[in-house]
Subunit: 172 residues, 2 copies
């Protein structure tokens, strides 16, 4: 028995959502965009955030009017970020999701998945730069480059000091 049909009077697009739902979803769409994440991720998280009950992939597809592909990928990304968890709902086969709402967790996941990797590869690049500068012939130029490199390293140290403090502050 196929039940996945929209009721006759429902629209295909997101106007299926009430004004309030739309507002919340938009709020998170903007939020994730600032973080450089795709719109669909904001929509999904927003939808979960505003739903009193956990939602399934199909619920999200239906309510947001996005494709199954988007929903699947979006949910995966959100899981990796630790921003959603699977909610065990009775003995159902399909899995339901609910949002993680603890700021510490959200920020932690973002740092782990989005910031750290860039810091790592940044450090690697700096390493190679140091090597290149050391084998610079012109002493005038070498001196200048060494200075600048030291500056970047100073930035990195400051940055390293910041992250822990940040995590601590957000726990409170």
């Amino acid at each position: 028995m196929v039940m996945n049909r929209l009721a006759e009077n429902e629209l295909m697009d997101t106007s299926g959502l009430g004004a309030l739902e739309r507002q919340v979803v938009d709020f998170f769409v903007d939020g994730v965009r600032v973080l450089g994440l795709p719109r669909s991720i904001g929509e999904i998280y927003g939808m979960l955030f505003i739903s009193p009950d956990p939602l399934s992939l199909d619920d999200l597809v239906l309510r947001l009017g996005i494709s199954k592909g988007s929903a699947s990928q979006g949910l995966r990304a959100l899981k990796r970020l630790g921003a959603v968890r699977e909610a065990s709902v009775g003995e159902e086969r399909r899995t339901y999701f609910e949002p993680a709402v603890e700021l510490k967790r959200l920020v932690g996941g973002f740092i782990r998945e989005q910031i750290r990797p860039h810091l790592e590869s940044g450090k690697a690049k700096i390493g190679r730069l140091e090597a290149a500068v050391r084998s610079e012939a012109d002493p005038e130029r070498k001196k200048f480059l060494t200075e600048r490199l030291a500056r970047i390293e100073q930035w990195m140290r400051s940055g390293g000091r910041v992250l822990p403090v940040l995590q601590k502050l957000l726990g409170a």
Copy 2:
């Protein structure tokens, strides 16, 4: 007398740069990408960062192989971010630029130009949401929404506490 011709043996693309220059420029290209800024901005800042002398718009066009339009817009953005300053070079007509290298200044500019505006508009949206929730009919739903809204407001407060500390830490 037209002098803007490349020497016969120079390539049009950025291989005009030495390996080291290229490395540094790429480093900043990656850096600004993480911040959600366009590649050309990273190239320009990187080029200035590695140059012992201030550079003009035309210098950047020539060395990076980007268009005048990109250079002009990129420099404007960097000025607004406080990431470059105009360097007064003798009595020349054209203006020369040098990078700002103090982390505090760079981060401050970024927060001012990219973070604050979003926080503002975010707060405005929350305001409208509060209004919408207050006029929610169903009491059960109203209770739930109020809880969630309180959660967002808690996030905002934590965030507000963070920025000043961050700026302080980066001064050091």
